[in-house]
Subunit: 268 residues, 3 copies
Amino acid sequence: VRPIVTFLTDFGHRDPFVGIMKGVVLGLCPDAQLVDLCHEVPAYDTLGASFVLHTAVGVFPPGTVHVVVVDPGVGGPRRPILAEVDGQRYVAPDNGILSYPMATARAARTRHLTAPEFWRHPVSASFHGRDLFAPVAGHLAAGVDPARLGPEIGDPVRLDLPPLRCAPGALSGRVMWVDRFGNCITNIRQEEIAACLAAGRPDAVRVSVAGRPVGPMVGTFGDLPVGGTGAIRGSAGYLELVCNQGNLSREWQVTAGDPVHLEGPPPV
Amino acid sequence: VRPIVTFLTDFGHRDPFVGIMKGVVLGLCPDAQLVDLCHEVPAYDTLGASFVLHTAVGVFPPGTVHVVVVDPGVGGPRRPILAEVDGQRYVAPDNGILSYPMATARAARTRHLTAPEFWRHPVSASFHGRDLFAPVAGHLAAGVDPARLGPEIGDPVRLDLPPLRCAPGALSGRVMWVDRFGNCITNIRQEEIAACLAAGRPDAVRVSVAGRPVGPMVGTFGDLPVGGTGAIRGSAGYLELVCNQGNLSREWQVTAGDPVHLEGPPPV
Amino acid sequence: VRPIVTFLTDFGHRDPFVGIMKGVVLGLCPDAQLVDLCHEVPAYDTLGASFVLHTAVGVFPPGTVHVVVVDPGVGGPRRPILAEVDGQRYVAPDNGILSYPMATARAARTRHLTAPEFWRHPVSASFHGRDLFAPVAGHLAAGVDPARLGPEIGDPVRLDLPPLRCAPGALSGRVMWVDRFGNCITNIRQEEIAACLAAGRPDAVRVSVAGRPVGPMVGTFGDLPVGGTGAIRGSAGYLELVCNQGNLSREWQVTAGDPVHLEGPPPV
């Protein structure tokens, strides 16, 4: 089976940076399958990147290598790492960007990438994507044993994940990611809703964002009138605030970080 | 030969949705060649998507699988379909998005995708690209017999295609797609021009858009002065309104849907 | 080893043009690895395209085919060419877009693409990317001998590259490319700085852009305070004007073409 290498960065689409990383990978592993996950992470938003990464990796076969480069500390003392989490492999700066995949991990092992023979030289001060992460990914995809890349570490950086506050009849979280359609993806899962609010009564739950009522919890977009707002269970399992055929984020000025609140009958 | 799978969506480039669909396809068909056709279809514009799809697919080898997801009705009753049209294969929602490829088809067969064993479960309410269309595409690319995916149907949804009005000496159509350069691609083909207007006299034909004269029909951009406007035969065979080294759409506020009119000597 | 074909254009990301070129290549060379280098070259900016191409190609294995289509003269008399430069192969219009790769070449050979049996017919007047450059790239990737594609020529078009003015204690160049982060990449290399200014004294060098002082030359972003501006040696070896976690181009309205000036102690 051909190895898969994915890329998630904040590099955008106007520069050759992603293509350069791909050239490095193909030079080391000509048979790799290369997949762009996302390159429009808001610049330096490691938390949002971590969340969106976590919503995307589940579909990839075990052994996939994910190159994750949102790296405001490039050239500084932050460590480059390889993390093996539930069968997926990540090469990334150790700045917390893997916090979400790690938070839900059943099994994780992290290595400090210290073996320069697997890098591209000279290593620049500003583009470790090209000089360190892509070469390591290429070697991994080509079958290099992870143990040769550096020693295991037990203390990868973990971001403080935005908390969920759950009380009987009330649940608070926040917007984590706004997608192209203006849908606002929260950090609230169905399980947590069921733990705080009466199951089976979605019509009795009141959802608000930044203090403004959003409308009902519905099963799908089509359950809302055109232009109507509400909340659905999003495709990654998180509650999502939406406007049917409209753009909730733009119309209501909702952005990542905005507080989301649910109220309703407590569980029986 | 390695199977080709293309993607045309309105998902844009800021989210991982397209990469997620590719992960699903590669999990089922590791050897697939994946090609992005277009992800910036204006949200929910099934007609424009259909037109631009039709202008793109002709270069692909027979058997190519096109994943087409502009799907405002996702989660609702609209059917998911597989259409085999002139050797190309399309998986798409049955919302008319295949109308243009079907309109010019010499041979077409459509199936309702009803066999859940070829889907990804649980099927979400909002991302059938991941859960239904990509898995079906992956199975098709891996060689699954289309007959196993669902029964043939005879009534796929067809959009009303914008009409061409042709009279001797006059021809009317509309702008279908505005490209990155601001060129305005119409639904008027050379054959129709020849049927309504005197062939061989392009300089005698007057072209206007939304009532405003565009200038002459010319052979290529370079036949216009820099900044000059006119009409050329576009690369997909449709008349295109252009500004040499300028952006006609932006400067004249031309958008998809605007009427286009040609007048000139009738055919002899 | 699977052949690599890259694409650098000004086609942007909203149209199917790049996907169409890929379909043509895959029809001729089903096993090709396709890599997008850059599609957001400012429309018709052949000089910027040439510079950014030159900063990207070094990581690709010898024999890589680069399809380079920034082509304001499409359909006119400009020649289509194949250039073999230091082991990389370029198919492009002969409008100077290969000037930067050629300027630093150790070995280069250029051919006029004249053999229509390697093109796609009919050749349109406006999309030679599809009809000429992609087919030639596909044939090259599939192993066709370059000599069959057309005769050698000795006079490919060369753009006047923006000059560097170097005097003891002073060095002038310009901004060539602004990246997604607002970093301003200049045409000034470390070697030229060392030739004009005292080596080992980067703190004594004053850098300005468009007459405005930028701040110190530093080793990496982290050597600047957050929001602070300065100059670093960029990843492609060129001096880069930056703002740590800010966007220098946007905040200071710096664009490609702006003059950059360095002053400091002359070399001893």
